[in-house]
């Protein structure tokens, strides 16, 4: 089981590195959105640093969607999905390996890049640290929720747009608690741990529901 999981994880990481990868695109998209914000809002540093965590979270959420539509679609198109179905492991393990690889090349770079982009929206060092921690914990939830949509739209030609419409509503709780945890770290009446622990819980729930849901969607999409 570990062998199959590792083989698939390594294959997907290699593919991401090889074709230019969706990770790089997501990161550049993230940068673009965050850069646009000061242009739209004007150079009011107080305003920017107050809404900075929200900007970064929305940008991260949209950047996560980039490339998510290809998560299973690429395998569906070239027949690899048929090969993955012959695995000596349950479909859930296949989904888990693919989602883990996808998060490593999209979610993780977003979290790591957050401090640098935080400079653009005048975040304090404390806020940058809070952004890294909340994105690190919160982006897996986004990827797992997105995996269900990606599995459902795997066989659709223009699945990307439908995918976004399908999964964005389900990402709202993650967004709410991600932003409120980042804001709580900067002060306020709510202690940091309260929204942060809910964010952790959301990620854990999404990991279970996303894995099982995406595997079920892939199985039912067989015929």
């Amino acid at each position: 089981m570990i062998r199959s999981f590792r083989a698939l994880l390594i294959r997907d990481l290699k593919l991401a590195a090889r074709v230019g990868g969706s990770g790089m695109m997501g990161l550049i998209f993230f940068l673009t959105i965050v850069t646009l914000m000061p242009f739209a809002l004007g150079p009011d540093l107080n305003l920017l640093s107050r809404i900075g965590p929200a900007i970064l979270w929305i940008a991260a959420l949209l950047a996560t969607l980039i490339g998510l539509d290809r998560l299973f679609q690429a395998d569906q198109e070239d027949g690899s999905l048929d090969l993955l179905r012959l695995a000596p492991v349950p479909m859930e393990v296949v989904v888990l390996a693919k989602v883990a690889a996808h998060w490593l090349v999209t979610g993780l770079p977003l979290a790591i890049a957050a401090p640098f982009l935080g400079l653009l929206v005048a975040l304090t060092p404390d806020a940058m640290l809070a952004m890294v921690v909340t994105l690190l914990v919160g982006t897996p939830a986004l990827t797992f929720i997105g995996a269900i949509g990606a599995a459902l739209t795997a066989s659709l030609r223009r699945g990307g747009l439908i995918l976004a419409i399908l999964v964005l509503p389900f990402m709202i709780p993650t967004l709410i608690f991600g932003v409120s945890a980042a804001n709580a770290a900067l002060g306020g009446t709510v202690p940091f741990a309260t929204p942060f622990l809910i964010l952790v819980a959301l990620s854990l729930i999404a990991a279970v529901v996303g894995t099982v849901g995406a595997a079920a969607a892939l199985r039912s999409g067989e015929s």
């Binding site: 390594i10 290699k14 074709v19 070239d78 690899s80 048929d82 179905r85 012959l86 000596p88």
Partner: protein, 210 residues
Amino acid sequence: MRLDVQNLACDRGERRIFNAVSFALAPGDALVVTGRNGAGKSSLLDILAGRLEPASGTVRLSRSGDRSLPECLHYIGHRDALKAALTTEENLTFARDFLGDPALPAHAALEAVGLAHAAALPVGYLSAGQRRRIALARLLVAHRPLWLLDEPTSALDAASQDMLFGLMERHRADGGIIVATTHAPLALKDAKEIRIERAPVPSSLAGEGS
């Protein structure tokens, strides 16, 4: 292992494609499935691969230990299931590690299909026939008793077809089972043959489908 198929029927989109297909395969057997375009040859393989639910009938696997049907088979379909960005060797190494029960290492399998020189080339650079040979090399990197081959000779030149028949005969000699769909005659020794016919459709307006 043994494969018993009883009275299989298949529906695609509310239409009966074929019915009353029965056969039994023991180690060393080969079954050649023929039929018109759209008769349901690929659908039969999909059912055997456990990917499509039959409308009626049963597929029974016996003496396979505790392994389920998908874990006992190789499936080579129309799409080669290769990643264009990875090299041929990486593709095969992935299949070997992923499918479990490893047999030949990737470079030996490439040698067997005559593509050892292409080991470090990305699959995207290869021709359709070469890609098909890489897909066939996957049969050799993991040991699986049942081979399901959907038109295995398509895109292959005469020499590669001979190579394929050699692989198939060796697999049968080792106690494997082969089910292959084909249009061209396959030079397999005493293979069973089954012809899939479209189930009679009451209306004469019924068109071609797949």
